[in-house]
């Protein structure tokens, strides 16, 4: 995912290793619904209260099939549930609406046993609730950007999406709807992670069929801990506790009030006044303009929550266009960037990056890279290497970036200055996101700056999507192409999880870094401001704020 669209991010890395062990062969996995009983400081939950949040604009979509940005997720994840979910703030997959599941020995058939859960209107959840949603995601008329996660991985998905089949043959309802079976075309080690994406939540077929696509986008019907009680278009959305939520004991809050306010100044002042409780994914993290006022104010600096995102900020170097098509030139440029300076420009809301995979990814991150994949800040060496590559007087080029975030602009300027130091005269071409994306996907931008965020915690989400030559030019917009890397990536994508699979990704990353396809410069930190009376707040690194686990104390 790119920085602009979806922020699924970065983790409490320690607990994460367990997550990968679950897609085993023929194992029966039973898990119980989670409810949290005490906050980290040992305080006990308090029931009741209303959480007040300012949201950064109106929610673009409340339909899970169409929600694919963090703002929409903030609402959708409180209202819908899927077969599986992430446990707390970890990368571990546990059952949600599925109480248990088995996987066939060949890894191609998943059988889920469903809990007795109900939608807010009392309709029961069964296999059709999921089949319906998967079909909706595949249907072009829904305009879902997420169909690529299941098409063509689920049997019959390609045919269904193309309109050649009336039903999705790979998904079947068994035992009168209490069991859901999904057949895949190949073994897929990340399938359970994909199922945790909100697009694959349960929907009520009767409700969906009885209303238009537009209506459903604004009038949700889910199983989630909070229901949309009322809303004033573009102004306010009020969610109320679902008294029949299938996980007993939560949520603690009675109500969540989302008020539309995208003025960074107003958001800051509301927090300082105490009229809002949280600045988190409802604002996409603490807005840039508000970070220093909060972090440098002794009254609020203790309220700041930080988490390394599973995301990497990078400078892309095109392998086919411009001077960077020369490997020696790319390697030279790697020594030119002052990454510490980049992090300073972000007011410390990032850590220095040295490879594609961020440390918050449960696997794939290498504590030590091989020598030929390691670069340090050394402008003198950069200049020398550039001369050896045939550019003793540097060269002229353009750095492409988008202007959505004020930080993007400052970072581009640092890169421009760093390049100037070694004789590379770069002009910065900044456009709106739409234009930037359009140009970037042609694969013709010589040097550009972008970010990549995970959709799920697996190295394939980074390495395969960005460096496999079959992903050029749209996702692999540096036009990187290496036969060995392709082979490694293709093989690893169907292997079961385990050390052998992850070793292949490490090998691939080592080659990619030694060939300087990217200059990764920072792993951003997600920051949130949490009022002292808000307890047990956390954000799942793969999703957004988990509001069902928060409680409020008197204030």
């Amino acid at each position: 995912m790119t920085a602009r669209k979806l922020k699924l991010f970065g983790a409490v890395a320690s607990i994460s290793m367990l997550g990968m062990a679950l897609a085993g062969c023929g194992t029966e996995v039973a898990s119980t619904p989670v409810h949290h009983t005490a906050a980290q400081d040992g305080s006990q939950p308090v029931y009741g209260g209303t959480l007040n949040l300012d949201v950064n604009g109106a929610f673009p979509h409340l339909d899970p099939a169409r929600a694919y940005d963090t703002l929409s997720y903030e609402a959708v994840t409180q209202m819908y549930n899927g077969l599986v979910a992430y446990k707390g703030a970890t990368n571990t997959i546990i059952g949600s609406l599925a109480s248990s599941w088995t996987v066939s020995p060949d890894g191609k058939t998943y059988t889920f046993h469903l809990r007795n859960a109900k939608f807010w209107n009392g309709d029961p959840v069964n296999a059709d609730s999921f089949i319906k949603e998967f079909e909706r995601v595949l249907t072009p008329a829904t305009q879902s950007g997420l169909s690529g996660f299941i098409n063509p991985f689920i049997v019959g998905s390609a045919a269904y999406a193309a309109g050649h089949a009336k039903t999705l043959t790979g998904m079947t309802s068994l035992d009168g709807g209490k069991t859901l079976q999904i057949k895949l075309t190949t073994a897929d080690p990340v399938f359970l992670l994909v199922l945790a994406i909100p697009a694959f939540s349960a929907v009520d077929p009767a409700y969906v069929d009885g209303h238009s696509l537009d209506y459903f986008d604004y009038h949700p019907m889910g199983t989630g801990p909070f229901e949309l009680a009322s809303y004033k278009p573009n102004q306010q959305w009020i969610l109320k506790k679902n008294p029949n939520y299938f996980i007993k004991g939560i949520p603690y809050l009675n109500e969540i009030d989302f008020t539309n306010n995208n003025s960074a100044q107003a958001v800051l002042e509301h927090f300082e006044q105490g009229s809002t409780d949280l600045i988190a994914w409802n604002q996409g993290g603490i807005p840039s303009a508000d970070y220093l006022p909060l972090s440098e104010n002794p009254k609020f600096s203790g309220d700041i929550y930080k988490q390394v995102e599973v995301s990497t900020l990078y400078v892309g170097l095109n392998s086919k266009v411009g001077p960077t098509k020369n490997l020696a030139v790319r390697r030279a440029l790697e020594y030119a960037i002052n990454k510490e300076q980049m992090v300073k420009v972000l007011n410390g809301r990032a850590i220095v990056a040295n490879q594609v995979i961020p440390p918050s990814m449960p696997s794939g991150y290498e504590a030590k890279l091989p020598a030929d994949a390691t670069y340090t800040y050394n402008p003198g060496l950069a200049k020398k290497l550039l001369a050896k590559a045939g550019y003793p007087h540097g060269f002229t080029t353009t750095i492409y970036t988008d202007n959505t975030n004020p930080d993007d602009v400052s970072e581009a300027e640092v890169v421009q200055q760093d390049f100037a130091q070694i004789g590379v005269k770069a002009s910065v071409n900044q456009t709106t996101w739409g234009t930037f994306l359009n140009n970037n996907e042609t694969g013709k931008q010589g040097i550009f700056m972008l970010a990549w965020l995970e959709d799920f915690p697996d190295p394939s989400d980074f390495l395969n999507t960005l460096f496999n030559s079959n992903q050029s030019p749209e996702n692999n917009s540096t036009m990187y192409s290496n036969k060995t890397v392709d082979q490694l990536l293709n093989e690893a994508s169907v292997m079961p999880n385990g050390p052998a699979r992850f070793a292949m990704y490490k090998q691939a990353q080592n080659i990619i870094m030694s060939q300087a396809a990217w200059i990764p410069y920072a792993y951003p930190l997600f920051t949130a401001a949490v009022q002292p009376w808000v307890k047990n707040y956390y954000a799942n690194p793969n999703l957004v704020d988990d509001l069902q686990s928060i409680w409020l104390t008197k204030h």
Binding site: P140, Q143, G145, N260, S263, A266, W433, G434, E474
Partner: protein, 305 residues
Amino acid sequence: MFSYIVRRLGGSVVVLLGIALITFILSYAVPADPARLILGMKASAAQVAALRVHMGLNLPLPEQFWNYLVKLLHGNLGQSYILDLPVTTLIAQRVGYTAQLALAAWLMELVIGIPLGIISALKDRKATDHILSILALIGISLPLFFVGLELMYWLAFKAGWFPVGGTGGLPYIILPALAYGITGAAYYARLLKSSMLDVLNSDYIRTARAKGASSFRAVMGHALRNAMIPVLTYGATDVAALFGGVVVLEDVFGYAGMGQMAVQAINQLDIPLIMGTVLFAAVFVVLFNLIVDVLYGLIDPRITY
């Protein structure tokens, strides 16, 4: 008069068509793909292509424009690409708030600007006039966002007299309107001052004074009425622009009006919504200009159509 109005209405339709055409061409000239923006980066090229067909984006441009016009004549402004709601619905949701803010902002400008203009004219070239001129200059020079932020900080956050930003009724409108009034009043003040000076030195005013009319009557009764004409001309365009939504104000105060929606639409290349908001604002400009021209005819008996 009637035939004048009919002729003007006819002209207005031509103007609006021209605006629709220009906006349409500009929207398509931007090198970005609405289908790609809707589906996101992860969607395959095939998916994006399919959506383009579904949205009719591959039809020849003249055909797309014609389809748009046909729908327009039926009162259908199309469906927003990103929000997937009818554009008319989206505008209707926000127009009320924008209208309230527009009128309040304009009134503030008048409330501050007109008295300033009158006093400046009466005290022309005296100390009072100089001080007022400097104040007016400061008002115009201050950026709107700056005035807005300061007002919000001191009067809402610190003093607590108003809500800190947000959308709603009167309490939410006063500060943004005041900010706009402070920065815009100077135009009215200067316009009024110069036209009043013209009028105050004219023969008929001296006649009125000679006939014994008090200064106040002379000023208010005669001079002001005539001096208002240029103010009305300027005011028409000003209000019309306000109806399009003042983006800066809406941004600073987090006010969910049309300006905010227009900017978002532009960033996301939501072409139907862009066209809808631009046409909507254009209609107001055209309408208000027509109203003002008709009002001239009523105010000034010398003007006949």
